[in-house]
């Protein structure tokens, strides 16, 4: 990797403040991948809006992209604030980070409606199956039977965010693991190129409260049960494809709206990344086996995003000037006349 990216920026320009998370926390690994993905994609840091809710995971936007504006909102409501920001300034790259408690417990309603609305944003869930910041209670993604640190098993079935997103019509759904850098970085890069809401559910072990024997979110458990669906490569639009090492085996290229390409090198046969029902079935099957199926699970590049649906003007709403957005005195008179 070269020391500077396409914009001539060093990776330092994509870093953030010092992390205050526990040493070894999965979230910190994801932070690294976000930094790398933004660097690789040559994103202008000042054009990113970093959004989050509340939780250890939601603190991480302070630890990457310090040149970007960030908004650490309230618990479970990142999606709505992000939607507002995305609509107010359509030129921004909205990058949302949330936790499993933040998204699947208190925030599941906003998650569902966000996915339906399809405002352009990357929505990363740093999923450890517990509430880290409040000291380890189960969240709504905790697997049935997974044991808490005190040995108490979780009794309620988990919400799987990936199948839920696919069922709700989300056009980009990925799953990964904080311990799988080769997969996660290109996945985030691809998500950054997607024109609508791109959801990535990343298993991210909480080393303090959910990394013990009996937990299905411990680093070791996930390492052993991670089934990578395919090998992923992301080729930015500015990189000529022939500069890329063509990986061995059969591969499919998917072109994104911004001209970049995702190269999927198949490991699982018969998996069609565009088939909604098949994706859901595959996820359900792997869950039933206690496995985590990771990779790009579903992609629909034809879906209209909210800007298109709304016919939003090209200029960011936030930049429109008084002349454009305050109608004239004559208009007021006309309107008033119609009430006379």
């Amino acid at each position: 990797m070269s020391k500077e990216n396409i914009l001539g920026l060093p990776i330092q320009e994509y870093k953030g403040g010092k992390s205050t998370l526990c040493a070894g926390c999965g979230h910190d690994s994801i932070t690294d991948k976000i930094i790398k993905a933004c660097f690789n994609n040559g994103i202008k840091p000042h054009m990113v809006a970093k959004m989050s809710g509340i939780g250890c995971s939601s603190k991480t936007p302070a630890y990457f992209l310090s040149k970007s504006h960030g908004f650490n909102t309230v618990h479970g409501r990142m999606p709505s604030v992000s939607t507002g920001a995305a609509l107010a300034n359509r030129q921004l790259t909205v990058l949302g980070v949330s936790g499993d408690g933040d998204t699947a417990s208190i925030g599941i309603g906003q998650f569902v409606h966000c996915v339906r609305r399809n405002a352009p944003m990357v929505y990363i869930v740093e999923n450890n199956g517990v509430y880290g910041l409040t000291k380890g209670q189960f969240s709504a993604t905790a697997d049935e039977g997974s044991k808490s640190k005190r040995g108490v098993p979780n009794e309620i079935p988990p919400i799987d965010l990936t199948s839920l997103a696919i069922q709700l019509g989300c056009g980009f759904v990925g799953k990964s693991f904080s311990g799988a850098p080769k997969q996660l970085t290109p996945l985030i890069q691809a998500a950054l190129s997607y024109q609508g809401t791109a959801v990535i559910d990343v298993i991210s072990p909480c080393v303090t409260f959910n990394n013990h024997e009996g937990s299905t979110r411990s680093y070791n458990y996930v390492k052993d049960h991670d089934i990578e669906l395919q090998t992923l490569d992301y080729i930015p639009s500015f990189t000529p494809i022939d500069e890329i090492d063509i990986p061995q085996g059969e591969s499919t290229d998917v072109e994104m709206h911004d001209g970049s390409t995702i190269r999927l090198t198949g490991t699982k046969e018969d998996y069609d990344v565009h088939d909604r029902n098949a994706a859901i079935a595959a996820i359900n099957e792997s869950m039933a086996k206690g496995e985590h199926l990771t990779g790009l699970l579903y992609l629909d590049n034809a879906k209209k995003n909210i800007y298109q649906e709304m016919r939003l003007c090209e200029t960011p709403l936030a930049s429109l000037q008084e002349e454009t957005i305050r109608p004239t005195e004559e208009t007021l008179l006309e309107i008033m006349n119609s009430y006379k």
Partner: protein
């Protein structure tokens, strides 16, 4: 006062609006109050029409003419009529009217309607009473025709059909009821240049002319029509020729999401707003606290209805004043605008954005159902007299000029910091917004001193609002009176009449109308210069009275008395004046 009792969903609203507008077209400052149920069809609805030379907008005590169309309320409506009142009733409901002390007009509205068009009969049954009433009280046909055109947007077929119903209504009266009754209307010239508009339309227009670019909302009575009017105006006036929009409207999944979107858009630099009521405000509580502490602009219209809880969703009240003013856990206070008329809804509509952006804080506009959903005779709105105030936003070039910048520094000593917008390319522009503790440079901090300093700055900023919010208005001054009256919001519209009633009783009063919170020092001055002050408001717990106690000079507190009450109906002047004469300790000055 004319009271029309019908069933919801029977199309009576359009008949009533025709009467209302026809009277307006005759130059009469007519008041109209729609008392509708929280239901779509079938439950009782009343429409109160009042015509006075003075144009008193509040409802009167007595109904002079009752139009009885709804068998369910027939008896109760009748029983309320005083001797000598008029009752016009649909004789097809086959209810005999057994009061010989009334002046009775029966009319077979349903039969007449069926005679005109058996298929569309339902649509015009109510129009028949429009004709009957017109004939009885003397509404000019020309005015009726104008009103019809307006109501049906010049759609010829509908106009003709309704006109026929009106004519037959008139004829039936002419032919069958050659009696006299005391209430007649005559043309005047009192509505020249005025319009009929409701507060929600006015607020929507104000927002339009305030340059709103973002609206997120969730339907709730009585606020929905503000959002829906605004959507209509935006479509007409804020789209490019290619159909692309200079605004975004999101119907959110609930009020939490609506508030979140408002703050997201406000944070990113949009003039953003929502409109809600009752439970909607309660659900926004957490987000309002975030907006206050993180200092994000956003405009929040609350068209107040009757609480607590679901309460009476289609009745009016002023009971969220205190709640909105301090909304959120912890110490927090917000600017609140209190419009009293559609004209003020328009003005506060655009001004609210200036306040929200200048003070970087959630800003409430508290209207109510009476103001928002009833048709009002209004003076022309004034085109905004100043350009947008977008507040302290630093652009790239501004940052080039300053040596260093911190999001929450109090550079100007007014407690208001500077902000930058996402997308600003200057290398120093970024900052991190959070609802948790932060220092002057927006860095996370749990330091006790930093926390206290920040909170004191926020209090200072709030203090600054006192002088910058719309100031209270002395609406009536009779010189040396010792009694002062204070109100706000739509209660105002009953006060002019109250003053007249009291004058009759030789009680002179002065009257100040509060237009915003926090309270201006002028309220104190007003209290200072009187011996006794009555606070008139429409809630149970005397919310403004308590805020005045809280914020103002304690030496004045003994002077103030509360006349708070609410039963969900717009306040009547007679109740207010009775309340005052009962409570006053001051010997009534005989007029010289």
């Amino acid at each position: 006062m004319v009271s029309v009792g019908t069933a919801n969903g029977s199309g009576s609203q359009s008949a009533n609006l025709i009467i209302h507008r026809a009277l307006f077209k005759m130059g009469l400052p007519v008041s109209g109050k729609n008392l509708f149920p929280s239901n779509i069809a079938g439950l009782p609805t009343w429409f109160l029409i009042r015509v006075t030379e003075q144009g008193y907008p509040a409802p009167a005590d007595d109904t002079n003419i009752a139009i009885l169309m709804n068998p369910d309320t027939w008896e109760k409506d009748l029983s309320k009529l005083k001797k000598g009142s008029v009752a016009i009733y649909n004789s097809d409901t086959r209810m005999p009217v057994e009061r010989d002390d009334l002046i009775l007009y029966d009319i077979p509205c349903s039969k007449i309607a069926r005679g005109i068009d058996s298929k569309l009969a339902k649509l015009i049954t109510n129009t028949v009473y429009v004709g009957a009433l017109s004939e009885i009280i003397g509404i000019e046909q020309e005015a009726i025709v104008e009103a019809l055109k307006h109501q049906f947007n010049n759609k010829q077929k509908a106009i003709e059909l309704n006109l026929k119903a009106i004519d037959e209504g008139r004829n039936y009266i002419k032919e069958n009821h050659k009696k006299n009754q005391p209430w007649k209307v005559e043309r005047r010239d009192l509505t020249q240049g005025k319009m009929i508009v409701d507060g929600n339309q006015a607020g929507a227009l104000g927002s339009l002319f305030g340059g709103v670019t973002f609206l997120a909302w969730y339907p709730i009575t009585p606020s929905s029509s503000l959002a829906e009017s605004l959507i209509g105006y935006l479509k007409q006036h804020r789209e490019y020729v290619d159909g692309s929009k200079t605004y975004a409207v999101v119907q959110a999944e609930d009020e939490l999401a609506a508030a979140g979107m408002v703050f997201g858009a406000g944070w990113a630099g949009s003039r953003s707003m929502t409109t809600t009521s009752g439970a909607g405000i309660s659900l926004m509580t957490e987000f309002i606290g975030l907006g206050y502490y993180a200092e994000v602009p956003g405009v929040f219209w609350n068209i107040q209805r009757v609480g607590p809880s679901t309460g009476l969703p289609t009745r009016t009240q002023q009971s969220d004043i205190n709640f909105c003013y301090k909304l959120g856990h912890g110490d927090s206070t917000h600017p609140v605008l209190l419009p009293a008329t559609p004209k003020e809804c328009f003005e506060f509509g655009w001004r609210s954005f200036d306040i929200a952006e200048r003070f970087q804080t959630p800003t409430f506009v508290l209207s109510d159902l009476d103001l928002g959903m009833n048709p009002w005779i209004s003076d022309d709105f004034e085109y905004p007299n100043k350009p947008f105030d977008r507040g302290k936003v630093l652009k790239e070039e501004d940052l080039n000029k300053v040596e260093s910048w911190g999001r929450y520094r109090d550079v100007d000593g007014d407690g208001i910091p500077y902000r930058t917008l996402p997308g600003n390319p200057h290398p120093d522009s970024s900052y991190f917004t959070r609802g948790s503790g932060h220092d002057e440079d927006a860095t996370y901090s749990e330091d006790p001193e930093v926390y206290e300093r920040n909170m004191k700055r926020l209090a200072k900023k709030h203090e600054g609002l006192r002088a910058k919010m719309p100031q209270p208005k002395i609406e009536h001054s009779s010189g040396k009176s010792k009694i002062g009256l204070i109100s706000y919001g739509t209660v105002h519209t009953a006060i002019e009449e109250t003053i007249d009633i009291l004058k009759e009783k030789n009680v002179e009063i002065n009257y100040l109308r509060i237009r915003a919170l926090p309270l201006s020092p002028k309220v104190n001055e007003f209290i200072d210069s009187h011996e006794e002050i009555f606070i008139i408001e429409q809630n149970r717990d005397a919310q403004m009275f308590n805020l005045i106690k809280e914020e103002l000079d304690s030496s004045n507190i003994k002077k103030i008395k509360s006349c708070a009450y609410s039963d969900g109906m717009p306040m009547a002047a007679s109740k207010i004046s009775a309340n005052i004469t009962e409570k006053t300790q001051i010997k009534i000055n005989k007029k010289s």
